[in-house]
């Protein structure tokens, strides 16, 4: 199966200049390929550069070395072409806009006509099941609902990649699990490529087709785990034996994450060879 490569990172490094002349390497030696329609999670300890990596992919910051290629073009061009939908940890909704006006924002910026715009906004609100709240203001919604608005807004202009930076980190566990299922449903319906940064091992395993485990200082890819649990995934997935095994593998990869920079994509085979995957 040769699916189309959407994201390609090659030798990516990001160094921040610190005040006082010193510098800090956030990520280093990142090689990665992400195929169309994949759901890839980036997981790792605080300071492993997973958010920086996401921002590098989204051209919100530029690499100090190496290259980021999106759909065969530089990340900068991809941003100008509106290839990215972004969802942050905070919903970042505009307080002065209603729910539908928030979802409409990208379409306004991209100069889409009024009628097709309204139809698209309705469609997106149906997708995240917030049709009844179209005229509400963000402050009238719960945290989970606000984040659903943010997802609708990110998808409204049909970007090819959805970048999510710990989108459910501020939500309680119950809401978070519900949102996980929600995101999977949306991902399956739209077929969009998702890159998802998280702190949560269960979340990464439940959602992803691949989990990229990162190690800190400097941030490197320690291990990549294929999550081949059957889909569609639901409550039974969270209670299955295969799920627990994957959670354990990710946890172990996180614990032994340091000093495995050489592995990258090929690490699944190596992990199998080391007996980490049963």
């Amino acid at each position: 199966m040769t699916a189309q490569t959407v994201v390609s990172l090659s030798g990516v490094e990001k160094t921040f200049e610190l005040p006082g002349g010193s510098s800090m390497t956030a990520v280093s030696g990142i090689d990665m390929e992400i195929r169309k329609g994949e759901f890839v999670s980036l997981i790792g300890p605080s300071g492993c550069g997973k958010s920086t990596l996401l921002r590098l992919i989204g051209d919100l910051t530029q690499p100090s070395a190496g290259s980021v290629t999106i759909n065969g073009k530089p990340a900068h061009q991809a941003r100008l072409d509106r290839d990215y939908g972004m969802v942050f940890q905070a919903p970042v909704l505009f307080d002065w806009r209603t729910v539908e006006e928030n979802v409409r924002l990208p379409l306004e910026l991209m100069g889409q006509g009024r009628e097709s715009r309204e139809a698209r906004v309705r469609e997106m609100l149906e997708l995240v099941e917030l049709t009844d709240f179209a005229r509400h203001h963000p402050y009238q919604l719960s945290g989970g609902m606000q984040q659903r608005v943010a997802i609708a807004r990110a998808l409204t202009f049909s970007p090819s990649i959805l970048l999510m930076d710990e989108p459910f980190g501020a939500l309680d566990e119950m809401t978070r699990e519900r949102m996980n299922s929600e995101v999977l449903r949306i991902w399956e319906q739209t077929g969009i490529t998702v890159i998802f940064v998280t702190h949560s091992i269960p979340e990464a395993v439940f959602l992803s087709s691949r989990v990229v485990v990162m190690s800190a200082r400097p941030g490197r890819v320690a291990r990549v785990l294929e999550i081949d649990l059957p889909r569609p995934r639901g409550v039974e997935t969270r209670e299955s034996r295969g799920y627990f095994e994957k959670v354990t593998q990710v946890r172990e990869a996180l614990r032994g994450g340091e000093g495995r920079a050489d592995e990258g994509i090929g690490s699944v085979e190596r992990a199998e060879a080391e007996g980490l995957i049963g």
Binding site: D81, Y139, F157
Partner: protein, 265 residues
């Protein structure tokens, strides 16, 4: 529970305290035979107000003239404050030049310039009073709007960046709406300041039919109940201007916590 009883329950303590204070004031003046030039009784202040409403000191037309000066100063100062804020927000160099100067100028007691403004714009002209009022209003508007334009959520800016939004779009869709509550806060502060500017400007000379002149002239003839009546009307004018801006807030920024909070309470 009906809305009427709700409102009554909320404002009853305020009303009781207000009426009580007036009653005690009246009682103390009468009981202790305090002389009118030290502190007139509320009843004689209200009496003076009615006696001089359109005749003698002409408090009502005086209030209209003062309101015109304050209002003109408020609008002029606000427009200038807005213009400088947008300029300074847009150009970092302008910020470096303008901000220190603005802060230094703000440290000057601007009302001290009232005689000079009278000299420049004509002592009998309303523009001299508008100039002082406007100068007082300028700074809070400028600083508040500048804050609103520049203190934008970093994630919101990144979001706009991810949409490849240009500077104009970021300004119109993000910075300006973000600055609107700040502007209205500046405008609220400005209402009081503009009235102070106008009245103090009048102290240093001007048409006789103006609240500041009524204060100065009635005090010089020891007609203090008229002085108090003029102060009462000046206060009412200030409160009315403030409430007007507060009403504007409810229309323009119903989503803002400051407006929402009032509703819930």
């Amino acid at each position: 529970m009906s809305r009427g009883t709700d409102l009554l329950r909320r404002y009853l303590p305020t009303i009781v305290v207000f009426v009580g204070t007036i009653a005690i004031w009246e009682a103390v003046i009468r009981g202790l035979h305090v002389r009118a030039f030290i502190l007139p009784a509320p009843s004689s202040i209200v009496g003076a107000l009615f006696a001089n409403w359109t005749t003698a000191y002409q408090i009502f037309p005086a209030a209209q003239n003062t309101l015109l000066e304050a209002g003109g100063g408020l609008v002029g100062g606000a427009l200038l404050g807005l213009a400088v804020a947008f300029l300074v927000a847009r150009f970092a160099t302008a910020r470096d030049i303008v901000l220190p100067v603005a802060v230094a100028v703000n440290a000057i007691p601007i009302v001290a310039f009232a005689p000079i403004a009278n000299n420049w714009f004509g002592v009998l002209s309303p523009y001299s009073k508008m100039a002082i009022a406007g100068a007082l209003v300028f700074f809070p508007i400028m600083i508040n709007v500048l804050r609103g334009l520049t203190q934008v959520d970093a994630s919101a800016l990144e979001l706009m960046r991810s949409y490849a939004a240009g500077d104009v779009a970021v300004l119109s869709k993000l910075r300006v709406p973000n600055a609107l509550p700040f502007f209205l806060t500046g405008l609220k502060i400005g209402t009081t300041l503009s009235l102070i500017g106008a009245v103090v400007g009048e102290y240093f000379g001007g048409l006789n039919v103006a609240l500041g002149r009524v204060v100065v002239e009635s005090a010089s003839t020891l007609a203090f109940e008229v002085t108090w009546a003029a102060i009462l009307v000046a206060s009412a004018t200030g409160i009315a201007m403030y409430l007007l801006v507060a009403a504007l807030e409810r229309v323009l920024i119903p989503w803002h916590p400051s407006v929402r909070g009032e509703r819930v309470a």
